[in-house]
């Protein structure tokens, strides 16, 4: 029997230009790239150098702190370049695509697979980085098994995608992935689905299905975990993106690393927003060309959703994890007396100092800050978008002053920066909440580990 939870507080931010349910194969990308910054807290050390040949699944770099965690190539070809920034920090590894060679792993028969086998296969194949660990949302540590594994198909962020739609044809892979992962924890994987909606995942075995009801950010796993099985000091849980469960399943079926990435390309200026079947690190232009967007020059391209994503150039590449690619218009224009209440109601606002709520269809957004950063003055507004038993503003303040003990007590273990996306969006003082939390978690990792 499935369980229901209802997450109150939050808001729906419907934006114009959501990807329609239509899937197209992305063109073959001549180059692919891996951005090491996509892996929070991972310190990359290169295994290969420029010019080295790679197959699908060849290790490219590993984590300095744990050499078992390797990031592998999503395609076959050779390493074209390794772009470095300040202090020789690796910004991007560029792979030129050639041929279709694959690294094949010997998969042991299902019945003989043990926990240790599974873990070492996941590590060797490069499928391990699909598994993230909470607290902190870092790549899971192979030595510490979780108390539960969570997968969320209940999506609520603006421009969020529909996993029922993209995984409809990969149910077998998904089932395989779920079975493998549940073997590790010796209990069912917890999967959340949107309440009151028929889900294709209800037929999957080894699942503990939980119906979630709520607006954004109820789709974020932090809030779901907090309600279902909260994380305490010393505990950890694993979270995996639904498509990556299918990728893991596919690996255990074929022995080849699967780098499928289905991406919903959304945006007001995208002429025909829809889904593209691409691969990890595909070139963005393999999905959309300059002609597919209006006002090409004045757009911002984002790997991820508009609240939490990372800015990327149009010449750039898809991120490692994201299923969303958003295009938002730049807002570098002045607005005369724009601070007057009830003026410029076309800008969506959760505040009643605007009449935008009277025009629910008008959801034109751009990247203007709509003000400037100020001291925290207004109280009680963050709680409206933070459906958890945590005081977000007090936690942020503890993070700003780097008071580790207070951060622990106020609940830093249960949250990740993305959970503050809507607070970033809505707060009056334009505080960069996600950035503050990110720095605080980095501090926690350094000091507490």
């Amino acid at each position: 029997m499935s369980k229901d939870i209802s997450i109150k507080n939050g808001a729906k931010l419907d934006l114009i230009g959501l990807a329609s349910k239509e899937i197209e194969f992305a063109k073959d990308s001549t180059t692919h790239a891996i951005y090491p910054d996509d892996f929070f807290n991972l310190k990359p050390r290169m295994i290969l150098k420029e010019g080295d040949k790679v197959k699908v699944g060849s290790p490219i770099f590993h984590d300095k702190n744990d050499e078992r965690i390797v990031i592998v190539s999503p395609v076959s070809g050779y390493i074209k370049s390794i772009d470095r920034g300040e202090k020789r920090k690796i910004l991007k590894v560029l792979i030129y695509r050639e041929g279709d060679d694959k690294t094949n792993h010997q998969i042991i028969e299902n019945k003989k697979l043990t926990k240790a086998n599974i873990i070492s296969l996941l590590l060797e194949s490069g499928s391990w980085p699909f598994i993230k660990q909470r607290p902190y949302n870092i790549i899971a540590r192979p030595d510490k098994l979780p108390k539960a594994i969570f997968v969320s198909t209940h999506t609520t962020a603006p421009y969020d995608i529909d996993y029922d739609f993209i995984l409809g044809e990969r149910l077998e892979d998904f089932q395989k992935g779920v079975s493998i992962m549940s073997k590790i924890i010796e209990k069912p994987v917890t999967l959340t689905v949107t309440a009151n909606r028929q889900s294709i995942f209800s037929q999957i075995k080894n699942l503990d299905i939980i119906n979630v009801k709520g607006k954004h950010p109820s789709g974020n796993l932090s809030f779901q975990i907090n309600r279902i099985n909260p994380i305490n000091v010393g505990e950890c849980v694993w979270v995996i993106n639904p498509e990556d469960i299918a990728n893991i399943g596919s690996f255990f079926k074929t022995g080849n690393f699967d780098s499928t990435r289905t991406v919903g390309v959304s945006g007001e200026t995208v002429k025909n927003p829809k889904y593209y079947k691409a691969q990890i690190g595909s070139k963005i232009s393999s999905m959309i060309s300059k002609n597919d967007v209006n006002n090409f020059e004045s757009n911002r391209y984002i790997n991820g959703d508009p609240l939490t994503g990372t800015k990327v150039d149009f010449d750039g590449y898809l991120g490692y994890y994201n299923n969303i690619f958003s295009v938002i218009q730049e807002g570098d224009k002045y607005r005369m007396f724009g601070w007057l209440p009830f003026k410029d109601n076309h800008i969506p606002s959760f505040s009643r100092t605007s009449f935008s709520w009277l025009f629910p269809k008008n959801k034109k957004v751009n990247t203007n800050l709509n003000g400037d950063e100020r001291a925290l003055v207004i109280t009680g507004e963050m709680e409206k978008f933070f459906p958890m038993d945590i005081y977000p503003m007090q936690l942020l303040k503890a993070c700003i002053i780097e008071d580790i003990e207070k951060m622990e007590l106020l609940g830093i273990y249960e949250i990740i920066p993305e959970d503050f996306g809507l607070i970033d969006y809505s707060n009056t003082s334009k505080i960069e909440a996600q950035e503050i939390i990110k720095n605080a978690i980095q501090l926690m990792l350094k000091e507490v580990g």
């Binding site: 709509n370 400037d372 009680g380």
Partner: protein, 385 residues
């Protein structure tokens, strides 16, 4: 618009990084952002942002203060003409009020904003919008005949000691506007109480009895005003706090826009009503038997709980904290009124007192949240052991 923008861009040059007047950028920025919402785009965090900002929020509060201010201007003239027995029209009253009150507003803004700008330039941070509200509140809660230099000194004290000393907007413990009033109240008591300060020019005209209702009650005198008059506000008092009706219009704006906390307003109302009722039953003296509902519409109670107690910076910040804080503001307000005849109006001191205790209230509310989390951890430890 383009013409203004172009000229602004020209003027902006020397203020930008590396320019001659770089240091004064915050001052320029304040003027520029007054005219235009800047073209700044998001760099970190969310790529899109809500239309609301602190300027919009503060301006909404100023709009909410307007009804009370306009009535205050009228009432200043009305009290003057009525008490001196002269014939007058609506316009006469407005003109007299404006003549008295505009200089106060100008002094408050000029003095206060100069200090704010000074600190912004000195510390290199943008000018915060908080003083736009404080600067209007201060003249609205002072007696009309207060000498302008006293007003200026009070403003200086409030901005320097109550606000900037603690780190500026968002960091202060006490509400700056009330601090200004409290300073004036204790520094210049003869100008802040008695029967000669509440009506314009009262000290120059014989025979004016301009005592406030609470003042008369404290002195054991009878009241000549009806509840309707108290609610409407045609009574002597500080500049703009007399009319409950017009304060309520402001409250409606604040509640509709969601800027002020309804929890604080409601719980203050409950606190004051309960204590008022209690005293009505007790009824040992004139003040105790003053009807509880009259307590709510007389003096600065309405103005205080709508515009002062709800100041988000100095009030409690947690939901439960707001209930407790508001309730106690109401309770202490009536307690001070009834038990302390030296301070006929208790709302100022009640709010300041609760401002001081607000962080403590929040501390305990948050501590209970922390304890809940700790308990979960302890339970877990027992299970694993």
């Amino acid at each position: 618009m383009n013409f203004i923008r172009k000229n602004l861009d020209k003027i902006k040059k020397p203020f930008e990084k590396g320019g001659k007047l770089e240091k004064f950028y915050p001052a320029f920025d304040a003027f520029e952002t007054f005219l235009f919402v800047p073209n700044h785009t998001t760099i970190k965090g969310s790529h899109i942002r809500d239309a609301v900002d602190l300027k919009r929020t503060m301006v909404t509060v100023i709009i909410a203060l307007m009804p009370a201010l306009f009535y205050g201007i009228y009432n200043t003239g009305y009290q003057y003409f009525i008490q001196s027995g002269l014939e007058f029209t609506f316009l006469d009253a407005m003109l007299h009020g404006a003549y008295k009150i505009f200089p106060m507003i100008v002094v408050s803004y000029v003095v206060g904003l100069s200090i704010e700008f000074g600190f912004a330039v000195y510390r290199g941070h943008p000018v915060n919008e908080g003083y736009l509200v404080t600067g209007l509140l201060i003249p609205m809660i002072m007696p009309v005949d207060m000498p302008l230099w006293m007003l200026a000194v009070s403003v200086i004290f409030a901005v320097l000691i109550a606000k900037e000393a603690f780190g500026g907007t968002g960091m202060n413990i006490l509400n700056p506007a009330l601090t200004a009033r409290a300073f004036a109240f204790f520094a210049y008591p003869t100008y802040m109480s008695g029967d000669k300060v509440w009506v314009s020019e009262a000290s120059n005209i014989d025979g004016i009895s301009g005592e406030t209702i609470l003042g008369s009650l404290a002195a054991g005198q009878n009241i000549d005003y009806s509840s309707i008059q108290m609610f409407w506000g045609s009574i002597p008092g500080s500049v703009a706090e007399t009319s409950t009706l017009f304060v309520l219009i402001g409250a409606a704006i604040l509640l509709f826009t969601g800027i002020a906390s309804w929890r604080i307003m409601l719980s203050s109302l409950i606190g004051a009503s309960l204590v008022g009722l209690l005293f009505n039953f007790w009824g040992a003296n004139e003040l105790m038997s003053f009807e509880w509902y009259n307590h709510l519409i007389v003096g600065g109670f309405a103005f205080g709980i709508v515009f002062m107690a709800t100041d988000p910076v100095s009030a409690a910040q947690t939901k439960r904290g707001k209930w407790i804080y508001g309730f106690l503001v109401g309770v202490f307000c009536i307690l001070i009124r009834v038990f302390n005849p030296a301070y006929p109006e208790g709302v100022m001191l009640a709010i300041l007192l609760m401002n001081v205790f607000a962080p403590t209230i929040d501390h305990y509310v948050i501590q209970s949240n922390i304890n809940k989390r700790k308990k979960r951890w302890v339970k877990l430890k027992i299970q694993t052991v």
